[in-house]
Symmetry: C3
Subunit: 95 residues, 3 copies
């Protein structure tokens, strides 16, 4: 399985979680983080600046769909990074 | 080393951290996250719904013990997911 | 690419983010976490105890520089752990 992590401006919260539902993700977690991005040290200049981080666990096939949608529809509009990590999910039925 | 991430309802906080001590984990971090899980979009319905995420770094052997205990004693009782990631820990004595 | 995660006492916040700039990191996220570390169950004893977690995405070469600096200048001074994870970053220009 893959964990895809999306860090973006809070403004993108609703569109991102809607996209996760559309691609078939069953669950995700969301938290607020402080961020400093490529556009410069926004955090230092505006201390209350906050981003959100969304982590979603999905199969590789769904990852591809998600990434293509992020690339086509989100990267042009929002300050955003996304990356994937290989994980091993512990499921009761695997034991 | 492995990083095991447990995302669960806040109710499980005390039992989970007690389990981590029992299996011999030396430290962990805990943070509150908003979650949307397999039972449906709980977050959307109850905006204040919150989960906790616990990250613990342990050797592979401890991971197996931890996962068996989670499977046997926690998965039946709590809304919970757990997954592991391979990591490389930077220790002073490794340099 | 690598994701380096640094969990440390809040006191180290300014020196750590300054170090990230010095080694050439283009962005990072920072969040407050509760921690229990090797020095004992600090969280249980002092419930309001808080650490920070900083995640930074950097190329392998920068990782080595960062780790050497952390080892030489930070590990002796601050309660801190650091670990790296292999990730795949999604960049618009990769599609």
């Amino acid at each position: 399985m893959k964990r895809v992590t999306i860090v973006c401006e809070s403004l993108a919260r609703e569109p991102v979680t809607r996209l996760l539902q559309e691609v078939g993700a069953h669950g995700w977690t969301l938290l607020e983080v402080q961020g400093s991005g490529r556009q410069g040290l926004r955090l230092a200049e505006i201390p209350e600046f906050s981003n959100i981080q969304v982590d979603v666990i999905i199969p590789p096939a769904v990852t591809e769909t998600l990434l293509q949608r992020l690339h086509a529809d989100f990267f042009p509009k929002f300050a955003m990074i996304a990356y994937e990590t290989d994980i091993r999910v512990l499921r009761p039925n695997k034991f």
